[in-house]
Structures are given as structure tokens and as C-alpha cells.
């Protein structure tokens, strides 16, 4: 069964304190791995797509990396506005388009 596990569930950092969020996945053939940001009461906001092991994508203070079993979202020198829930999701190559989400990591950046 396709599965996505994210850790930690919650993370509190001081402003400027860099860290990484983990996403472990089990999927029967990976078509793509996605990272989204979700603010309370809002829809997931697309951040990155990664397609193959070794691939990296960057956007401002965020960098996503991918291996054959997991992905990391690195946050460098975060600011309070980076506080949100970060969702990891996968799409299997032998399926239609559905995306399978993890539970997310709630990130809180203290000023």
C-alpha cells in the first residue's frame, strides 16, 4: 500500500535556526513527490515537485531533496512567516492522478 510518513509532527524553531523536515514514502513506482505549504483554514499551496532521486529544488529559504526512500525539506534561516504546516505527497506511476498525502509537519518559528 502506498504510504507517506512525515516527521516530526511538530517543530518549534527560533528565527534564524535552520532545520530539516523528513518525508518517508513507500510507493509502487514514484511518478512525483510534492511539497505543499498549508496555512490554517486554507488550501495546500504548491511548493515543489521532485521526480527522481538526487533531484533538488529551491525557493527562497526552502530546499527540497529526494532519495529513493525519502525527501527532505530544508529550511534555512527561517522567519516567523514561514510558520505553517508542510505537507509531503506522492503520486504513483501506476495510478491515475491521485495524490497521497502525509499528515504534515507543523512548523512554528518564534521571533
Amino acid at each position: 500500500e502506498d504510504q507517506v510518513t512525515q516527521s516530526p509532527e511538530a517543530l518549534r524553531l527560533q528565527e534564524g535556526e535552520s532545520s530539516s523536515l523528513n518525508c518517508s514514502y513507500t510507493v509502487s513506482g514514484l511518478r512525483g513527490l510534492f511539497w505543499y505549504r498549508q496555512d490554517p483554514g486554507k488550501g495546500p499551496e504548491f511548493l515543489f515537485t521532485l521526480y527522481s532521486a538526487g533531484e533538488e529544488k529551491e525557493k527562497e529559504r526552502l530546499k527540497a531533496t529526494l532519495t529513493k526512500k525519502e525527501s527532505f525539506l530544508h529550511i534555512t534561516a527561517p522567519k516567523p512567516e514561514d510558520s505553517a504546516t508542510y505537507l509531503c505527497a506522492v503520486q504513483a506511476s501506476n495510478r491515475d492522478d491521485k495524490i497521497i498525502f502525509g499528515k504534515g509537519t507543523r512548523l512554528h518559528i518564534l521571533p
Partner: protein, 112 residues
């Protein structure tokens, strides 16, 4: 600017009533999706819709759910007889390029 808007933003209904949730894309798309998120839980896939037909549905998407594209632009999710456990955020999503899906702001459905 969002790719898709959803109406209403919040719907309160009584158990057993029918509700229709609407998704309005900014521009024309072929692929649409509905997901839901029960408070504090994962975002879950409900159904995908391609070229005016259902292409895949989850086990959650039973006979009480239906989807339509009534006027060629709007995309609707109908729940025929709501249950308490249908209370959730419902998100419409669309696919632009590659396999990326862009989500709308959601409709909060509260069943009392």
C-alpha cells in the same frame, strides 16, 4: 492570484440534507480533483475528473457523492444526504502542467 476559487467558503447544513460545493477555475482545464480534509487529519483523495468523466474515485466516494461540470466551466461536488462524518474541508484541485495539482481555498462543510 489563485488558479481556482470555491464557493461557498463555509456551508452549514443539517444531517440528511443535500449540499452542492462549487469550484470555479480561472482558465479552462481538463483535469479536476476533489479532496477532503477532516479536522486534524490528512488530505484525502475523493475523485478525479477528466474530459467530463470520472477517471478515478476512492472508496470514500460512495453513492451519496457525485460530480458534474454543468456548464463547461464550473465543477461541482454534490453530497446527496449528508452525515455528521461528512464535516470537513473540501478542496477542489486542478492540474496545469506535468502532474502538479493546484488547490483551491476550500469549502468548510459543517453538518449538524
Amino acid at each position: 492570484e489563485p488558479e481556482v476559487t470555491q464557493t461557498p467558503s463555509h456551508q452549514v447544513t443539517q444531517m440528511g440534507q443535500e449540499v452542492i460545493l462549487r469550484c470555479v477555475p480561472i482558465s479552462n482545464h481538463l483535469y479536476f480533483y476533489w479532496y477532503r480534509q477532516i479536522l486534524g487529519q490528512k488530505v484525502e483523495f475523493l475523485v478525479s475528473f477528466y474530459n467530463n468523466e470520472i477517471s478515478e474515485k476512492s472508496e470514500i466516494f460512495d453513492d451519496q457523492f457525485s460530480v458534474e461540470r454543468p456548464d463547461g466551466s464550473n465543477f461541482t461536488l454534490k453530497i446527496r444526504s449528508t452525515k455528521l462524518e461528512d464535516s470537513a474541508m473540501y478542496f477542489c484541485a486542478l492540474r496545469k502542467s506535468s502532474y502538479e495539482q493546484y488547490f483551491g481555498p476550500g469549502t468548510r462543510l459543517t453538518v449538524t
